[in-house]
Symmetry: C2
């Protein structure tokens, strides 16, 4: 098949960012630069040009931005999306006949010599020949002026007003020059006129890249957020079931500690059948409150509130308090049902029915989770199921919720998420979804590609310098960073990791510093974190002893040794430093001690360098080996390092600096690097 | 938009080989294995399965091949295309409910214990509880049998005859087992029955990857070929213009030297206007024969033969002789015209017309090539131009030519090649195109993607061990190797590279060994190569002095120092060793001397290891550091190394072996590695 545009000679390839051939959008936030790169090339020696076409998806008209060559036929251009939602872009390339002509003309003009100025020794024959060559060259230049005038005519036809007039005048002057007899032609190509012609490129034979590539533009919080998770039912007085009103009272101090997302585990009615007792025992006592993830009872399902917690009006009040303190409430959406969930009787066909007519409960044979019925995404009635699940999100958005933490999304069908998240964001462009998927890499990435704004990660289990460097390098660089936004959690209600079981204060400090500085999105499950809860349900288990998942806990939030002040310092530092609000500039630096992890982030002039002692038991010291260029510093420059954790100031010099970190003091430096006053 | 197949839960991503999202085909040869890999995964814990669908493009029905998991959710499968032409493949994945069920059942069966066999110390309560658990487990197993029977029913509905009968019987036995009261259930899942059920997968909710990916399947010679280029006009007696008949006389000895492609520079009428003289002088004498690339004169253009060379009948005779000796003739197609080419008067609109009405000749200002008119691929009449160019190829295919070396394809429009090559290959599937594009990487790769079977490379200028390793690593591995087939030339009529200007015999030997063993496609421009022509037209130039491009040369082909015997040895060795007929197994090995380049290739049991002394002036010695696993040998194994160049046999041992290469003897080993007899 012959192409319809056989004369369009420019090829456009390797366009990035692009996820799976444009099947999924690249992710950015409002106001963030989207740098687009592409290989743009043609045949022969003609010059090519390229530009970027971009638009919000709901607008038809393309906006344009210039692209510039960056070597090896690669071009780069960028745009800054100014609204939340779906955007798309593509690349246009063309042969620039005017630029080719101009470049050739300059060479011709430059090749003029004065044959009379030859060496007096030159033979008459050679002088004659040189004169002939010059005569021919002058003819060629005159002809080139006429060719150029035609190209300028074309540009002027596209221009209007003053610009059209100027172009016409230039064309006329080229024609006039062609008629003149001179001994030497001057170069008529002034920068202003070059620029003017370039403004009216001849796009009649331009190539447009074969795909329009989607970009999902989120609000800033998608990239930069600090989460604090707690169980509202543990927010009350000791010995009492806490309420949403109790939870609301905690919000001011959480906000004061610099968190901007307060996340509640499910707040819905909890099933009674097969309810789990304390420490996940299979038989619950009458007083046991059950797991909030066993959702649904006669009081309702995913759009109801557990009566012990309060009412929808109480929830609205929580939302008001949050708004007042500049934090957002994130709800946990766990699509699974207790046997008493209303869906079970209304829509038994949304579950898997066993040959004996009973509904299949969750199991990992021979283990059974009879308090949980998974939804069957292969149901014949999947269409209604999908809509009902969508409605759960929409219900809470009507109460003002814009952030959802989704429980185990990897056990629900991927095509469902792809559709559901797009649908919620179509209606509420500022909705944010955090995927709680701790599973295999392809599945985690698959969920992120299908719409999850942020994702839980393996950080929770990455402890050595090597493991942290490798994992961070993978997730903070394209292609992964184009679709996967990590959110680092040192702990969760499900995971008391080995690193925290030490119970050592330094372990908690170190893990908090790592999470808050390595990753622009981070969160803790409190008060278990700041109160350094560290006893597992049994040896080797990652479950907490007396886990809040199965019982109400009373916390002494004002304990003198609480780490809340450190968490506040971390959040304040994160807010003060744009460098910590992004991951793309993360750079690891060498040290001569593998127990000292050293890394930096930059945003313009703002440079933050962290050095973390990964050994919670021993003081560790060593020398940094800084990549000065990555820090924006000269190789042997002197600079100040202001420690955000201690307030101390160090005078550092060049790449090699001595560091000593005592775990019993503070196992990390978070250093704001500043050029010394004299060097400014 | 909700997808129509919302219940299809399996995701398929990262499918390879795939060039630019399937826009261009991956390249393979007939009988070669096409290994397809894909990430195939679903939600939750259900098992997934995948298979490969493939077919020749002109057939509608898919053939299938199983895929196997290779870790991290990646699957691999393969097919072997048995015909030349276009093929395509895609991947299908599904949730395998039967396999999931079988795996769960095995766990349940394995979880059975005998409560009566408890420790005698066990309390009555615990014993009771254990008995209860077993009773429940037995109920679950019985229920599982019934669930399994439903899945087997489904499989049997798809089966026929004996297999359907066996499946039905198995379903019935599962149902019967569910009714039985036993103290311990046995596992009913025999491998034969598992295999039988798997043969009838339930594909009703299967996912098919979103694209059908093209594969271009060429004949063997696309991957493995040995080219010999010479100018027919220099094939005659000294002082006379050679003819095609003279050229035919050289074919037997070229074939005897193991070459299988004999390639002629253009054989068409040569323009007289602005004809270039000897050594590219701008003024030609009356006796000057001109450049064969200045194509076209009153005698005709691209489908005519220069009268001095002979007639079309003579050409047919050349083809006959070639066929007789098992070699193919490759023609040089250079789409450019001398001012006297018939197209110039018939189709002036196929060229660029200057404002004075003259046709634009080739130039690189201020240099002019007035003997050459380039074609204008932006011509309004491009459609007819394309067809006429296509007809040039088709004309020569009708005379039996199947291999074309295309001159400077990078100065002709890329979309033209994409169409033209596909069109020729649609009519003649065994046509082979070699791109003579020495230009920027994206353009060279762009031409390969658009259909060129083989490509000239930068090998000609890669001289150091580091440069060779880096370049070879880039071009012999995916993604590049999936679409770009290198053809290594130590010299061409246009390029006398620095490495050969030494004039040293060892330089020529070394470059021939490198080309012939690093690359399964290679060629030389002779007799300049084997007679060690090495004087440049002027210092620093890559042009040959007295280049055949501008004059007839007389060669003493029987000169005692001719390297033809070495070229023959290389070709014989290449034919004897399948390892040298491919590039994908190329592996570089370490040495402790950067002047010694060491590498191997493997095909099954056939292992060839080359060590090349890159210093043509000095003997170099050192120790190899062989990757024994890559050679298919045990770490400390003793083996024999048979040198194909000298016939010597070395007894080697493990990875470290001493090598000494004297340039005045032979600057390389080409070693056939054989397990010692006692070790077989």
């Amino acid at each position: 098949m012959k192409p319809t545009h056989g004369r369009s000679r420019v090829a456009i390839e390797n366009v990035t960012p692009q996820i799976d051939c444009g099947k999924f959008p690249a992710k950015r936030v409002v106001g963030e630069n989207v740098e687009v790169r592409a290989a743009v090339f043609g045949d022969g020696h003609d010059h090519v040009k390229a530009r970027l076409l971009y638009r919000p998806s709901q607008q038809q008209e393309w906006r344009t931005a210039p692209m510039y060559p960056i070597g090896n036929d690669m071009w780069s251009g960028n745009f800054v999306p100014n609204t939340v939602g779906s955007w798309q872009f593509t690349v246009q390339g063309w042969v620039d006949h005017f630029d080719t002509w101009a470049s050739d003309l300059e060479k011709r003009i430059g090749a003029q010599t004065d044959p009379l100025a030859c060496d007096p020794e030159t033979s008459e024959d050679d002088r004659k020949r040189a004169t002939e060559i010059q005569t021919q060259l002058h003819k060629d230049i005159a002809l080139a002026f006429r060719s150029g005038a035609l190209l300028v005519d074309r540009a002027s036809a596209g221009a209007k007003g003053e610009e059209a007039k100027r172009l016409k005048a230039f064309g006329a002057s080229l024609r006039a020059s062609a008629e003149k007899k001179v001994t030497r032609y001057e170069n008529p190509l002034m920068p202003e006129i070059m620029e003017l012609v370039e403004r009216y490129p001849d796009l009649s034979l331009a190539t447009v890249y074969e795909r329009e590539i989607p970009v999902r533009v989120d609000r800033e919080r998608a990239r930069f957020s600090s989460w604090y998770e707690f169980f509202p039912r543990s927010a009350g007085e000791a010995g009492k079931h806490g309420t949403l009103r109790d939870a609301a009272k905690l919000i001011p101090q959480i906000a004061d500690a610099g968190f901007d997302v307060v996340y509640f585990p499910p707040i819905h009615p909890i099933g009674r059948a097969f309810r789990k007792g304390k420490n996940n025992s299979v038989v619950a006592g009458a007083e046991d409150v059950g797991s909030p993830w066993a959702i649904g009872a006669r009081e309702g399902g995913h759009t109801a509130i557990l009566p012990e917690l309060g009412t929808l009006e109480d929830f609205d009040m929580v939302m008001d308090v949050a708004r007042e303190h500049g934090v957002e409430i994130a709800l946990d959406i766990a699509f699974q049902c207790s046997p008493e969930h209303p869906w079970v009787s209304l829509h038994p066909d949304w579950f898997l029915i066993r040959p004996d007519g009973t509904i299949q409960y969750a199991e990992n044979p021979p283990k059974k989770y009879q308090d949980i019925y998974p939804l069957n995404f292969e149901s014949d009635d999947w269409n209604n199921l999908w809509h009902e699940l969508l409605n759960v999100f929409l219900f809470w958005t009507r109460r003002g919720v814009r952030i959802f933490r989704v429980d185990n999304p990897h056990t629900k069908a991927l095509p469902f998420w792809h559709w559901c998240i797009a649908e919620v964001q179509r209606q509420l462009p500022d909705a944010i979804f955090l995927a709680e998927a701790f599973t295999r890499p392809h599945v985690m990435y698959g969920l992120a590609k299908r719409g999850f704004t942020q994702s839980y990660t393996y950080f929770t289990w990455r402890e050595t310098a090597k493991d942290l460097r490798e994992y961070l390098t993978e997730i903070t660089q394209p292609p992964v960073s184009d679709f996967f936004r990590p959110n680092f959690w040192p702990n969760t209600p499900d995971i008391l990791p080995g690193s925290l079981k030490t119970g050592l204060r330094a372990s908690f400090q170190m893990r908090a510093v790592l999470a808050a500085t390595l990753c622009s999105n981070w969160g803790v499950y409190g008060p278990a974190f700041e109160l350094m809860e560290h006893v597992p349900a049994k040896p080797g288990s990652e479950e907490y002893m007396d886990s809040e998942k199965y019982q109400v806990r009373a916390w002494d939030r004002d304990r003198a040794d609480s780490l809340m002040p450190l968490l506040k310092t971390l959040n304040v530092t994160r807010r003060a430093h744009p460098a910590l609000q992004r991951n793309d500039t993360l750079r690891f630096h060498g040290t001569d001690n593998e127990q000292l992890l050293c890394y930096s982030k930059r945003a313009g002039d703002d440079v933050v360098l962290a050095v973390v002692n990964l050994d919670p038991r021993n003081a560790q010291s060593g020398w940094t080996q800084l990549d000065m260029q990555a820090l924006g510093l000269r190789e042997n420059e002197q600079y100040e390092a202001h420690d955000a954790l201690t307030g101390e100031v160090y005078r550092w010099n060049g790449p090699y600096n001595f560091v000593l970190l005592h775990p019993e003091k503070m196992p990390a430096h978070i250093l704001h690097l500043r050029r010394s006053a004299s060097d400014k």
